[in-house]
């Protein structure tokens, strides 16, 4: 117990946090407004057929609304996102900082101001909370104690992911829970296996002690 006692406490704390926090809240689903818009068909003068003709290798082609205008989004053979104006058929240039601010602000459910914006394009400099496949992205952080952050893809203007403090804590709790103090991905680490084995022994002996104690407690009462 001396050996795994602290880890038991960490398991209990992190486990309690993870079950107590609703996963949809943790994922920050409430952070963005329901920005669903009907597609405005009359503004679509550039057809799917034309898009596939002009970009034969495009995958995941999707026609959707972006800030009130219909656009096509797709993934290029190079693996990054691209956006095309559905009215003109012109490639939409990479999102500038003011546009990223606009997109984030448009979608954000709160009233807070944006505290800072940063373009992240180098995978080696990305924060651990986002995946490399989302790059390049604008990191737009709002001025709120939970530091809500929207990540806006530079090529498509799409909000690819969101983060806020409860989610960041959740990630830390997960690491504490699986005892992976580096990347937070490896459940099968040696430390965890050793602790689990020791914990099993500690738990079993605990149960034995408990059974012994209860048996005698009842025996005592029966006297």
């Amino acid at each position: 117990m001396v050996v795994v006692g602290a880890q038991f406490l960490l398991w209990a704390i992190s486990g309690l946090y993870m079950v107590l926090m609703n996963i949809h809240y943790v994922h920050g689903e409430f952070l963005s407004v329901d920005s669903r818009e009907e597609l405005i068909g009359r503004e679509v003068n550039y057809s799917f057929d034309s898009l596939v003709r002009d970009n034969p290798k495009a995958i995941n082609v999707e026609l959707t609304m972006s800030s009130g205008h219909p656009i096509y989004r797709f993934v290029t053979p190079q693996g990054h996102g691209a956006a095309v104006d559905a009215n003109t058929g012109e490639r939409i240039p990479p999102v500038k900082e003011h546009q990223a601010r606009q997109i984030a602000k448009y979608s954000y459910a709160g009233n807070d101001e944006i505290s800072h914006v940063k373009l992240i394009s180098d995978a080696s400099l990305k924060p651990s909370e986002i995946s490399a496949r989302h790059l390049p992205v604008w990191q737009v952080t709002f001025d709120h104690y939970s530091a809500p952050t929207f990540y806006v893809n530079e090529y498509t203007g799409e909000i690819v992911t969101k983060r806020h403090t409860p989610w960041r804590i959740f990630d830390w709790m997960w690491r504490l829970h699986i005892m992976d103090y580096t990347e937070g991905e490896n459940v099968s680490n040696l430390l965890f296996i050793l602790s689990a084995t020791t914990a099993l022994a500690a738990g079993l002996t605990g149960i034995i002690l408990l059974v012994l104690r209860l048996r005698s407690d009842f025996a005592k009462e029966a006297l």
């Binding site: 117990m1 001396v2 006692g5 602290a6 038991f8 406490l9 398991w11 209990a12 704390i13 486990g15 309690l16 993870m18 079950v19 107590l20 926090m21 609703n22 996963i23 949809h24 994922h27 689903e29 669903r36 818009e37 009907e38 597609l39 068909g41 679509v44 057809s47 799917f48 057929d49 596939v52 034969p56 995958i59 995941n60 082609v61 999707e62 026609l63 959707t64 609304m65 699986i178 459940v187 099968s188 680490n189 296996i193 689990a196 084995t197 914990a199 099993l200 738990g203 079993l204 605990g206 149960i207 034995i208 002690l209 408990l210 012994l212 104690r213 209860l214 005698s216 407690d217 005592k220």
Partner: protein, 609 residues
């Protein structure tokens, strides 16, 4: 109840509530740590399916489709054919309920995924060799996909791991392969998440309560651990250093010496030696059953205070799980005594006086017999016929035996007690002095039986027990008074004191005997007194030869002559062992001279010994 007691009580009740779930958490956690996640995820026979095709005809504009109001439209390739996926509501997660329509992107006809398509997709995704045995559209709830809120296609394969391939009816994409490995993993998740209703979620009141209780259990456990650590009850024994603990059994009135590891608690140390104090909590300091009594004023731990009454504490009772062997020399316990019985092998016998035979034994198998100086053992004397006279009497003692008849006598057997003339760390042999007891036409049971042993003969004895031993008091001097075979325990104590060092207190031996021949170990003691400045040897003979230059008379006279010197302002302890008449008289002299009775220690071997 103290705060710690309260903490322990909470710890107990909470552990009842969540103990088994914690075991499930640890067990399933261990599974997650050890399992191959690729296989456990059901991916053993899964490969990704590329649906992407090439446009062969113009695509119909999506505006021409019926029911075109949409949030977004995707160009979706299914088995190399293009389809428009019209999305009316797209939820955050794929498994949530979604409203989607498919249209053939060439013709604009509404399209529904049917069995042949689904079968084809499943076969492409499946790397095994087995065949499809069933295809069906399953409405939610889907047992094997608990979170799924949409209807899904299920394609079952005829393989040993019972693979089911699930395909999203709105996308034509493979959701999961569910095989036996995956089912096991899902079961583990359900157990880990306490998802006994199969909701696929871990945000429910049951697990929240269990987690809350577990946190309480951890916190109370850690508080308890810290308390144990502070009270010094938590240490790692590096070496099993042992020490002698004299344990007095209140039930039998006997005392045994046990060599217990210093770093153990008394409870565990005694258990290792085969003496089991009652304990219901196993040494946790919660049941209060493992009481012992010590004359020493031991510190009180919180468990002592919680579980013993103030009166018990004052009388010297403590809990054996709360105190270490290292700080204690002597305790009293009320537990049944586990008597050790040894088979002893005779290794040497010789007469040391005309009537005393020194017999040496070793325990069978070289077993170490722990005991301290002054201890005795009980010999089992089997019934039978014994010789009255010894057969190996040395020639020069023959004259003392002239009156003794030869022949045999028959007896029923019994138990006889003999003191050890040595102690365990001095000698690995067990040495006894057996004095021939002689009656009209018989000899003593013990002496005639043990005295007739030859080298190699085996006997059974139990013990060692000790009622008689040198105190650990810081005294100035110890006076040992003995006669006859009563010398045995005194000899052991003398050697023990000698081994403790010459710079310590004085040890005196007053040995009484009839004549020079009967003065057992005389030469040994003479040599010792010459070598050791703090050992004083005063043999006295009642009928010596004319060559005797030492004291003459009984030990009582020697004591009367010395008592003033011994009581001169210094603390002196007296140790008596010998014939009862001598012991009574000596005790009277000492008491009359003002020696407090607690400084007089007697080994009364005449009463049943």
């Amino acid at each position: 109840m103290s705060l710690l007691g309260f903490t322990k009580s909470i710890h107990k009740w909470v552990s009842i509530a969540v103990g088994f779930q914690i075991m499930i958490w640890i067990g399933t956690g261990g599974y997650f740590a050890l399992v191959d996640h690729h296989v456990a995820g059901g991916n053993a026979s899964k490969t990704s399916v590329n649906h992407q095709g090439v446009k062969t005809r113009p695509l119909i504009p999506w505006m021409n489709l019926t029911g075109q109001s949409a949030e977004s439209v995707k160009l979706l390739w299914i088995l190399e054919q293009p389809y428009y996926q019209v999305i009316h509501t797209k939820p955050e997660h794929r498994y949530q309920k979604h409203y989607v329509q498919l249209f053939n992107a060439y013709s604009g006809e509404p399209f529904v995924l049917t069995e042949p398509f689904v079968k084809k997709i499943a076969n492409r995704s499946y790397t095994g060799t087995a065949n499809v045995i069933a295809v069906s559209l399953v409405k939610p709830p889907v047992r094997e996909l608990p979170r799924e809120e949409n209807a899904v296609w299920k394609v079952s394969f005829d393989d040993p791991s019972h693979t089911n391939v699930y395909i999203d009816k709105n996308y034509g994409r493979v959701i999961s392969h569910i095989d036996d490995d995956r089912r096991l993993r899902d079961l583990m998740f359900r157990l880990h998440f306490m998802d006994y209703g199969n909701s696929g979620s871990f945000n429910h009141w049951l697990i929240v309560s269990a987690a809350g209780l577990t946190l309480t259990l951890s916190v109370t456990g850690i508080v308890w651990l810290i308390a144990l650590f502070k009270s010094g009850l938590l240490r790692v024994p590096l070496a099993k250093n042992r020490k002698q603990l004299s344990v007095r059994h209140l039930a039998s009135g006997t005392t045994s010496d046990l060599a217990l590891p210093k770093a153990d608690t008394i409870l565990h140390g005694l258990a290792e030696a085969g003496v089991f104090l009652p304990s219901r909590c196993g040494g946790g300091g919660t049941c209060g059953a493992c009481k012992f009594k010590s004359s020493k004023n031991l510190p009180q731990t919180t468990a002592d205070q919680d579980l013993l009454s103030p009166e018990q504490l004052n009388r010297g009772y403590r809990l054996a799980c709360q105190h270490f062997v290292s700080g204690i020399e002597q305790i009293e316990i009320d537990a049944p005594q586990e008597v050790q019985t040894y088979e002893l092998t005779t290794v040497e016998t010789k007469f040391v006086t005309p009537f005393i035979k020194e017999i040496k034994f070793t325990a069978a198998g070289g077993k170490r017999v722990p005991y301290r100086a002054g201890a005795y053992m009980s010999f089992i004397i089997p019934g039978g016929t014994n010789f009255i006279r010894p057969k190996d009497l040395p020639q020069h003692y023959e004259r003392y035996w002239q009156q003794i008849p030869s022949g045999t006598f028959t007896h029923q057997g019994g138990v006889r007690h003999y003191s050890l003339a040595t102690y365990d760390s001095l000698d690995n042999k067990l040495i006894f002095n057996v004095r021939w007891q002689l009656h009209e036409s018989a000899a003593g049971l013990g002496s005639s039986y043990l005295g007739a042993l030859n080298v190699g003969d085996k006997v059974i004895a139990s013990g060692p027990f000790s009622d008689f031993f040198a105190s650990e008091n810081e005294v100035v001097r110890r006076v040992l008074i003995g006669a006859g075979s009563g010398l045995a325990p005194l000899r052991a104590i003398i050697w023990e004191q000698v081994e403790l060092g010459s710079d310590r207190h004085e040890t005196w031996l007053i040995q009484g005997a009839r004549n020079e021949d009967e003065l057992a170990y005389n030469e040994e003691f003479e040599t010792l007194s010459e070598e050791m400045g703090n050992f004083f040897y005063l043999p006295t003979l009642s009928s010596p030869s004319c060559n005797w230059e030492g004291k003459q008379g009984y030990v009582q006279q020697v004591i009367l002559g010395q008592i003033k010197h011994w009581l001169n302002g210094e603390v002196t302890e007296f140790y008596l062992c010998g014939p009862s008449k001598m012991m009574i008289e000596v005790e009277n002299i000492l008491i009359n001279s003002g020696v407090p009775s607690e400084l007089i220690f007697k080994d009364d071997f005449s009463s049943g010994r």
